[in-house]
């Protein structure tokens, strides 16, 4: 199947610190990451003619980010769909480049969630908002973790999934994290108690946070950020990096519906779009960068993306199948150490693109031998209620 090669990731940067101790702002993280990603590509500020921004650093980004960077872009896209924003941005950048509206697209992210001591995970959603949906939900004291935990409970009920099976995701991800010096430093800086490879028993015996999810099934809350530069084929040809082509994309949202199935996410809609457009199947993926806010997120998304039938994810992940050194068993999962053990400042989507690109360039610390194809799937919002899904299929020459 012929694939359109009309936009490629040519520059990346992951901000190395996960704890800036309040000394650096999100805007500064974005700008520094942007400059390093442009340098990685062999491009300059003046080459950028399109910016994509989720507005996470505040200040009406569509009006202010170009000024902050010192750019005069022709395309400004401020799509914000939570942690999946960056997969949407990559899809839109490709669309805009294809349409001839842009040649060099810049995506950036910066957050000091850890320094702000922002309780992403366990804060009650207090205070009634004026959005009607939130005006119905806020009184129940559902924490973010409980939201995901409700998906896990229902998954267990419908399919017999076990905590031990969910723990496989945490164990494989931590194994990858221990091979990534930046992830190890992240866990040290965030004062993880016991920084080592884990076992299934470690995970299921860790403290219960919201039944049935345990501490070691929950992502960290870090500082951090990064940037991605996406360019047209003409520009990519002259960049100093090997192009990582965006072969397909899909977008979707899902929300609570009477009688709906909470175990099936918006990925069941976005995934097939992306694979169809790319002309490949999930089974061909060497690497799967799947938004791991929690263990259950990965399990549900693997199923919805089509790596295994709905409900069989628990059995499918058993036996260490997701490790990077088991290439014959399917894709390696979150080889940078994931949100669980490397980097989660609130909106992790950009890191999925970064590590997928490193894999396809042969630069990962848990490198899959001869990796040719990767999928990056972002989940924004909350899996157990309203959420967005962005799927990007990437390939190298």
């Amino acid at each position: 199947m012929s694939q359109d090669r009309d936009a490629a990731i040519v520059g990346i940067h992951e901000y190395p610190s996960r704890d800036v101790e309040g000394e650096v702002s999100p805007l500064q993280i974005k700008a520094e990451s942007a400059s390093r990603a442009l340098k990685d590509a062999g491009l300059n500020w003046s080459d950028v003619d399109a910016i994509y921004d989720a507005g996470e650093a505040g200040g009406m980004a569509g009006l202010t980010m170009a000024e902050y960077f010192g750019l005069s872009p022709n395309v400004i896209d401020t799509t914000n769909v939570g942690g999946s924003s960056y997969e949407f941005h990559a899809a839109h950048a490709r669309r805009d480049i294809r349409a001839g509206k842009a040649k060099v697209a810049l995506l950036t992210y910066g957050s000091t969630a850890h320094s702000n001591a922002r309780a992403i995970g366990v804060g009650g959603r207090g205070g009634a908002s004026m959005h009607p949906a939130e005006n119905m939900d806020a009184y129940a004291g559902m924490t973010l973790i409980a939201n995901y935990a409700m998906v896990a409970h229902r998954h267990m009920h419908q399919y017999g999934t076990t905590s031990e099976q969910l723990a496989e995701i945490s164990v494989a991800t931590r194994m990858h994290a221990m091979r990534n010096p930046e992830a190890v430093r992240a866990m040290e800086d965030l004062e993880f108690l016991d920084i080592r490879e884990t076992t299934i028993s470690d995970v299921v015996n860790s403290r219960m946070i919201a039944d049935p999810l345990h501490l070691l099934e929950c992502c960290m809350i870090s500082d951090g950020g990064g940037a991605v530069v996406i360019a047209s084929p003409e520009i990519a040809r002259d960049c100093r990096t090997d192009p990582v082509w965006i072969l397909g994309s899909g977008e979707a949202t899902k929300y609570p519906m009477s009688g709906g199935d909470i175990t099936t996410s918006a990925a069941a809609q976005s995934g097939p779009q992306a694979f169809l457009e790319a002309g490949v199947t999930p089974s061909e993926m060497d690497v799967a960068m799947i938004y791991d806010s929690f263990s259950i997120t990965v399990l549900a998304l693997l199923e919805d993306l089509g790596f295994c039938p709905k409900g069989e994810g628990g059995r499918w992940v058993e036996g260490g199948r997701l490790r990077f050194d088991r290439p014959n068993d399917g894709p390696a999962l979150n080889t940078d150490g994931g949100g669980l053990s490397s980097n989660h400042p609130g909106m992790r989507g950009i890191f999925l693109l970064l590590e997928a690109t490193r894999q396809l360039r042969g630069e990962s610390t848990s490198q899959v031998a001869d990796a040719k194809l990767a999928v990056a799937h972002g989940n924004g919002g909350m899996l157990g209620s309203r959420h967005a899904a962005g799927t990007i299929v990437l390939g190298r020459d």
Binding site: N135, Y139, A140, G141, R207, P256, I262
Partner: protein
């Protein structure tokens, strides 16, 4: 200092105000379209099933089941931190609507809440409205 209170909905929110007004009389109201019979919940002004819909208010029986749930063991919210462990659940009403709420009236939420469990409404009274919680039927 006052005791921290449960966060309450705004009674004047445009779409959901009629629902909350009904709770004063301990009525669980939902909407159904006269044209296409779509059940709309949460409340809205427009039918999500057809373009010329006419939404009609109905009152649910209060009979329900647990669709799924979690027991919150850790919260930093000033009110909910003192409630742990407590059960949050997506609750399916017999008439169709699915609502996020709490399961109350159990001695030990860690062992006494289960998916599929039959429930009935337990209204928690406040000054301007009542909150629909659920207890085992």
């Amino acid at each position: 200092m006052n005791e921290p209170k449960r966060p309450l909905p705004r009674a004047d929110e445009f779409d959901t105000q009629a629902f909350w007004a009904g709770t004063k009389d301990k009525e669980f109201r939902y909407q159904q379209c006269k044209q296409c019979e779509t059940v709309v919940f949460y409340a809205r002004r427009h039918c999500t099933g057809c373009l010329d819909g006419e939404l009609e208010w109905k009152v649910a029986s209060g009979r329900a089941t647990v669709y799924t749930y979690s027991i919150v063991r850790q919260s930093y919210h000033p009110f909910f931190r003192n409630q742990v462990p407590y059960a949050v659940a997506w609750v399916d009403l017999e008439e169709g609507p699915r609502i996020l709420s709490n399961i109350v009236g159990v001695e030990d939420p860690l062992t006494e809440v289960a998916i599929g469990m039959p429930l009935e409404i337990e209204w928690e009274e406040h000054d301007d409205l009542c909150i629909p919680l659920f207890k085992p039927a």
